[in-house]
């Protein structure tokens, strides 16, 4: 069985997280992804966390993870020779992914009209903070700022602690996954009639509509609570400390009896304070005290198992160690061991969705410029032309 994206040729002229995550998904599902790196390498190579804490452009966990299954070609897009080489590569590509500010992208030769002139069926995917046009299009951004301007940050945290972003680079990852969906739709269209297009991903536009019921309630009902709720949305939806970590509970009306039995409190079912959803809301404080007391006496894995048995939506806060030890992830083979010549062996998450045992590849991230010669030769550059590009010496 061929890989789902086998035969698709992708250029990634992006940096850090969003474009590389999009490229990672293309590569994992079988596309040939050439990562264009500047002479110093992708920013993620300098970011870490590094193996043993020692900075090394080949051992950044962030880079290693985001760039599996790709080939690396170093090209200085700040030079004419570099930009010309990019055009030669683009002539044979199906998709080009980039994530620079629109002005910077044009400076690097990543403007759609130029690319279209050499390859009308190319799908150019641009991931930016604000989109290609509009009053903030050239504003500087990063993950923190995107989390703020997308409305997700205001909702996250406590009233007193102030807005806080969640862990890692979530806004950037959202940009990458949105771009992967959009790119694959554009690719279907291009394969149908041979015409590409410039796909414009605004991370802000991706993030702002997905604030749960926040937008619909405000836009339609005129309701906006304007509060951050920390870890406790209500007595039966939140995160509660337990003996060795934290337990997560998300009980809906239909799970109430399951939850009461799972916690060993079948008597709640006969308690009129908790008999209906409305009564439970009315006695939220009293119920919260009960749930807090229950969690405080539990071990996390015990709470999870008893919740599972009783069909009650109870989980526990999985640490990275819990993920590596998860019987569920192990049974599904989700985590993959991948070796790397400099960083050594490490554990990597597998495909975001399973499409069969052979639908995803487990190759490593490339060394900086590892494939420069091969990629440029494949694009038909002569030895002299290859030498003229900044990366040819690597």
């Amino acid at each position: 069985m061929p890989l789902p994206l086998e035969g698709v040729r992708v250029l990634e002229a992006g940096t850090f997280v969003s474009a590389p995550y999009c490229g990672r998904l293309f590569a994992g599902y079988g596309a040939d992804v050439v990562k264009i790196e500047p002479p110093g390498g992708d920013l993620a190579r300098a970011h870490g966390p590094f193996k043993d804490g020692a900075p090394n452009s080949e051992t950044s966990a962030l880079f290693l993870y985001l760039n599996t299954n790709k080939r690396s070609a170093v090209l200085d897009l700040g030079t004419v020779a570099g930009r010309d080489a990019l055009l030669r590569l683009a002539a044979d590509a199906d998709v080009l992914i980039e994530n620079y500010r629109p002005d910077d992208a044009r400076t690097l030769g990543l403007d759609y009209e130029r690319l279209r002139a050499v390859n009308p069926r190319l799908v150019l995917v641009s991931i930016t903070a604000y989109g290609q046009e509009g009053p903030y299009a050239e504003y500087h951004s990063n993950n923190l700022i995107a989390f703020a301007m997308g409305g997700q940050m205001f909702l996250t945290g406590t009233p007193e602690g102030g807005p806080v972003k969640n862990g890692g680079y979530q806004a950037d990852y959202q940009g990458g996954l949105n771009a992967f969906s959009a790119a694959n739709l554009a690719l279907l269209a291009a394969e149908r009639d041979g015409e590409g297009q410039h796909v414009d991903i605004s991370v802000q536009h991706c993030m702002a509509p997905i604030l749960e019921a926040g937008i619909p309630f405000y836009a339609y009902n005129g309701i906006w609570m304007g509060v951050r709720r920390g870890n406790l949305m209500s007595s039966f939806m939140g995160i509660y400390p337990c003996l060795d970590g934290q337990v997560g509970v998300h009980v809906m009306a239909r799970n109430w009896s399951h939850f009461a039995r799972a916690t060993g409190h079948a008597e709640w079912l006969d308690d009129e304070r908790f008999a209906t959803a409305e009564a439970r809301r009315e006695h939220d404080d009293e119920l919260m005290a009960e749930v807090i007391a229950w969690a405080a006496g539990m071990r996390k894995k015990e709470a999870y198992a008893v919740g599972g048995e009783h069909r009650a939506p109870v989980t526990f806060i999985h640490t990275m160690q819990d993920l590596l030890e998860s019987p569920q992830l192990a049974a599904r083979g989700f985590l993959r061991r991948i070796d790397h010549p400099v960083a050594g062996e490490a554990v990597y998450p597998g495909p975001p969705w399973w499409m069969g045992p052979d639908a995803w590849r487990d190759g490593r991230a490339p060394l900086l410029g590892e494939h420069t010669h091969a990629v440029l030769a494949q694009a038909g550059l002569s030895e002299a032309e290859r030498a003229a590009t900044a990366g040819a010496h690597t």
């Binding site: 301007m149 969906s181 926040g214």
Partner: protein
């Protein structure tokens, strides 16, 4: 110029948020999506509109439902009855894609597992999106939106510096699963074209979101050291935080990545000498003296509106963004200029603004072309036009309770 998914018919068995957002995106980009609900097993978002159930067609007026279900048709079928299952399989035979987000064993228990549907349509793309996936010892555990990020490892690395693990302010796992759906379906359709065979896709929501913390998994496996929540701080950069602005609970995010951006910030706040001050002259020094620096920055922001401070800083090349509230994202000039919101009219709910399709595909644009369907609004289209039932057969479905024009008001109460 046809939409990317034109000609693709989707049978949508999803409920609540993750699945319906995903299938709505399919509809936004051209697919014909048919949402199937049972007369007694309807999408609970229909009941979360704050509309009293004594009002006419209350179940068609919930905004949360109507945002996530536009560009779909609706038909009612009781899948617990054999006649309902038979019709669903006949509908699958005339469709390209089935999407469901039940707990792992529900579809099999209903007699609608992949093998059965494949028998009805040997070219079906069958996308399941349960919390834990279809296999494994925890697959039958019940899990909802806030649980997914707990299982994915994200909560363990989120929170204030030195603080407890913290949830995201909304059910973050749901939309992250939803936005994956168009890609998963596109890959499935491609695989089907190539092999001529049905495709099964298992999108475990916790695994999809674990992909968003992959560097922490790799790091932990290499170094064996857990990373504590870091709040708004960056491992190397400063200033990199949120700062109080004028007004109640108003904030701005500022993130300097390079020396020249920091120098510009110093000029803007009227203290150009700080750029050369040894406490702040290099990235390393700024990170070491971050708290002192944060206090200096906040002294300046505290007297300005968050938008005002953002515009001033951006004019000087300093990365900054206002921490927008929900009313503010709806009026934000950039989102307005992009056309992120547009007024839509629904026959029962009236006219209000909702989000437009998020991705710009200029040659094959997405559209909000249909309002969310009323419950069972398209029964006749599905039963008569697609499945070829005559009036008598349709009347029998109503008589047997296999379908209905109204949902059972006692459900989800």
């Amino acid at each position: 110029m046809t939409a990317p998914l034109a000609g693709v018919r989707v049978v949508d068995l999803t409920m609540v948020w993750a699945g319906p957002l995903g299938t709505r995106l399919l509809g936004d980009y051209g697919a014909e999506v048919i949402k199937i609900e049972g007369p007694g097993q309807w999408d609970l978002l229909r009941g979360l509109g704050g509309i009293p159930r004594t009002e006419p067609r209350w179940y068609n007026r919930a905004a949360y439902f109507n945002h996530n279900n536009r560009n779909k048709y609706s038909a009612a079928l009781d899948l617990r009855q054999e006649a309902g299952r038979d019709l669903l399989l006949r509908l699958c035979a005339r469709s390209d894609v089935l999407v469901e987000n039940y707990r792992a064993n529900v579809m099999d228990n209903l007699g609608l597992g992949f093998d059965t549907v494949r028998n009805a349509n040997p070219r079906i793309v069958y996308l399941s999106m349960p919390g834990h996936g279809k296999t494994g010892p925890e697959s039958h555990y019940v899990t909802y939106g806030t649980n997914v990020e707990q299982l994915a490892g994200l909560v363990s690395i989120s929170g204030y510096e030195g603080g407890e693990p913290l949830k995201t302010g909304f059910s973050y796992g749901d939309p992250v699963s939803g936005i994956a759906v168009p890609a998963a379906v596109a890959l499935g359709l491609r695989q089907r074209e190539r092999t001529g065979e049905a495709v099964f896709i298992d999108l475990a929501q916790r695994e999809n979101l674990t992909g968003f913390v992959g560097e922490f998994v790799v790091d932990y496996s290499m170094n064996g050291e857990p990373r504590a929540p870091a709040g708004n701080a960056h491992p190397h950069l400063a200033p990199h935080s949120v700062y109080r602005c004028a007004g109640d609970d108003r904030w701005i995010a500022i993130a300097c990545e390079r020396d020249e951006q920091f120098a510009a910030l110093c000029r803007v706040i009227g203290q150009p000498e700080l750029a050369g001050d040894e406490r702040f002259a290099t990235t390393t020094a700024r990170k070491a003296n971050e708290r002192e620096l944060d206090a200096i920055v906040e002294e300046w922001t505290a007297n300005l509106g968050h938008y005002e401070a953002m515009h001033i800083l951006q004019r000087h090349g300093v990365p900054a963004g206002a921490v927008l509230t929900i009313p503010e994202v709806m009026s934000d000039p950039q989102l307005r200029a992009r056309g992120a919101w547009s007024a839509q009219t629904h026959p029962d709910a009236g006219t209000w603004e909702m989000e437009t399709p998020p991705w710009r595909l200029p040659r094959t644009p997405g559209h909000a072309r249909l309002p969310a369907p009323g419950f069972a609004e398209h029964n006749r289209y599905v039963f008569r036009d697609l499945l070829g039932l005559d009036d008598e057969a349709i009347a029998q479905l109503y008589a047997d309770g296999v379908t209905a024009d109204e949902p059972n008001a006692r459900t989800h109460s």
